[in-house]
């Protein structure tokens, strides 16, 4: 189904209730409303119970001094937990590490994902083999893949470490971040490629051929035709992957446990709860991460004009 026709159906459907509301609701329409609410209710209740309620509770906890080791010393302290986090070098360092990992891994994935998508789209033979093998990193459990990378870079165990003069990159901050990015890129490039491939298949073949007849080079065809037509698919893929990369946890936890200053904000939040047992500070970190993710989403959706998937007002 083409996007335009779906948008048209939806906007027609949106107008329908408005006109209907002006008259008195018929018995059938009211029954339909009730059934709609009834069918959605269980899903809505679960989603609210697991996200909205805990976040509201986290806001409340973040305003308290609350250490699990000192359960009797719980006290309302206003915004001072936020002050403590925002004035701590640990927070800013973790945020910097997270942003570096996010920016580099998403940029590399975009390039590699585009190459892989073009390969899957254009290759003359072996298309199914490539497509099948690309699904392996997607399917593998992140923790298992992270162990594979960790052992590969462990001196005197790993083939990669042996290849690079028995080096131990995981014990140096910069190199360890490089390995984390490598693990992240390997795992998620196929996902990026599949989203881009779906966008590629929407680029009309005729347009490409016409440009070729007019003498456009392969690069010109790619930058002037393919890329502009794929813009919505690229932005959606970038939005998904950026938010996902910003939440990075599994790979870092296995590869370095956040040691040598390689922890992301998610690692910081986890450590704060399970090592420091500090619910107040931990909740303040939770809320700050939530705000960061909200900012990223808003920047993408407003700034780049990404049609958020599922919304009907897509500017395509």
């Amino acid at each position: 189904m083409s996007t335009e026709s779906r948008t048209a159906t939806i906007s027609a459907a949106q107008q329908a209730p408005a006109t209907r509301r002006r008259q008195r609701l018929s018995e059938g329409a009211r029954a339909e409303r009730r059934l709609g609410w009834l069918l959605c209710a269980p899903a809505v209740i679960v989603m609210i119970a697991v996200t909205a309620y805990p976040i509201a509770y986290a806001v409340y906890l973040s305003l308290e001094r609350y250490n699990l080791e000192l359960p009797n010393a719980v006290k309302f302290v206003g915004l001072s937990n936020y002050g403590a986090v925002l004035s701590s070098p640990y927070w800013w360092h973790a945020l910097a590490v997270t942003l570096i990992i996010t920016i580099f891994s998403v940029a590399i994935e975009l390039v590699l994902g585009m190459l892989l998508a073009l390969l899957m789209h254009r290759t003359l033979f072996g298309r199914n083999t490539v497509r099948t093998s690309a699904l392996i990193p997607y399917g593998i459990v992140t923790v298992a893949a992270a162990y594979s990378w960790q052992f590969a870079w462990t001196p005197s165990t790993g083939y990669l470490s042996a290849l690079f003069g028995n080096g131990a990159p995981l014990s140096h901050t910069g190199q360890a971040i490089g390995v984390i990015i490598l693990a992240e890129v390997w795992k998620t490039t196929p996902f990026m490629a599949l989203l881009l491939l779906a966008g590629l298949s929407l680029v009309p073949e005729d347009l490409q051929r016409a440009a070729k007849v007019d003498g456009a080079t392969a690069w010109q065809r790619f930058t002037r035709i393919t890329l502009p037509l794929m813009k919505p698919a690229i932005l959606v893929a970038l939005l998904f992957r950026t938010l996902d990369a910003f939440r990075i946890f599994d790979n870092i936890y296995i590869l370095t446990k956040g040691g040598n200053n390689t922890g992301s904000v998610s690692i910081l939040g986890y450590d704060n709860l399970f090592s420091a047992l500090n619910l107040g500070i931990g909740s303040a970190i939770s809320i700050l991460i939530f705000i960061c993710v909200a900012i990223i989403a808003v920047v993408f959706i407003k700034g780049f004009g990404t049609a958020a998937p599922g919304t009907d007002t897509g500017r395509r």
Binding site: W37, P54, L119, F125, I136, V143, Y159, G199, Y270, N272
Partner: protein
């Protein structure tokens, strides 16, 4: 189209080979490690010089791995069934019914798809302890259902919009009861979407790590990926590298086979929500 020349064919073949090799190497490496003897683990060669099953027999004899494996299967299946059921109901309403608040539901599902899981860990930890859900199956099943729902609602409402619902009416005209119209006509058409959703939700549950290590404290409810991170080897004197590799292979290989078997469905499901909107 003209027959492509040899140079082009070699170029594509090279590109194909590079792509396939890069995706396979880390998998082959962990498989190779899992077959190495404890002495050979530290020889840093890519292939084992001697092959042994001892890592596998070791982990399959310890409850430290078997119980988490059963937890993973049980929690994954229950969460998947509940999520697909609730998502089907909501998606049917989104695709077929007119009711105020539909956009709110879609927006809410989108918000949850973008939600940073770590933000929930601290408050949920506190809530689960208060409710007695900490370190229990429901303590993981409930958040897994919540995070599986947005995916399910998107994929299923896209599928349900494509179903020719007039067939139901036609079947009734031909004398089918409403129950027959549903089971013989609508259910077979809806099944592929539900299977796709179930596969993706199960993969999510199987892969999930942050909640699994945060909301469990013993092997009573810990899932396999979380247990891997707490692995100490079959005896305390052996390095856990071999057993971890073997455990990683055990939890990975069935999923890879599963993914390859259902690859068309998975690709369709992953891209339907994101690109077609």
């Amino acid at each position: 189209m003209a027959r492509p020349d040899t140079g082009k064919r070699i170029g594509w073949a090279a590109a194909n080979t590079i792509a396939v090799v890069l995706t396979l190497i880390p998998v082959l490496w962990i498989v190779s490690l899992s077959f190495k003897t404890p002495a050979a683990i530290t020889d840093a060669s890519f292939w084992p010089s001697q092959w042994t099953w001892s890592n596998y027999s070791g982990i399959l004899q310890t409850s430290q791995f078997i119980e988490p494996l059963l937890n993973s299967i049980g929690i994954g299946l229950i969460a998947t069934v509940i999520a697909v059921l609730l998502a089907s109901m909501a998606a049917y309403a989104v695709a077929r019914l007119e009711f105020p608040g539909k956009q709110v539901l879609i927006g809410m599902a989108l918000l949850i798809a973008m939600f940073p899981a770590i933000s929930l860990v601290t408050p949920m930890f506190s809530i689960e302890r208060a409710l007695g859900l900490f370190n229990t199956w429901p303590g993981l099943i409930i958040p897994y259902v919540a995070f599986g729902l947005p995916l399910g609602i998107y994929i299923l409402s896209a599928f349900f919009r494509e179903i020719p619902w007039e067939l139901e009416k036609a079947a009734k005209m031909d004398g089918a009861t409403p129950f027959q119209a549903f089971t013989k006509v609508i259910a077979p058409l809806a099944a592929p979407g539900m299977v796709t959703t179930a596969i993706l939700v199960f993969l999510f549950c199987w892969n999930e790590f942050l909640f699994a290590i945060s909301f469990t404290s013993t092997i009573g409810a810990r899932t396999a990926p979380a247990a891997l991170a707490f692995f100490s080897g079959s005896s305390q004197f052996t390095s856990p590298t071999g057993p971890i590799a073997a455990a990683a292979v055990v939890i990975t290989i069935p999923i890879i086979i599963f993914v390859l078997f259902f690859q068309r469905r998975i690709v369709a499901g992953l891209t339907s929500g994101a690109v077609k909107g």
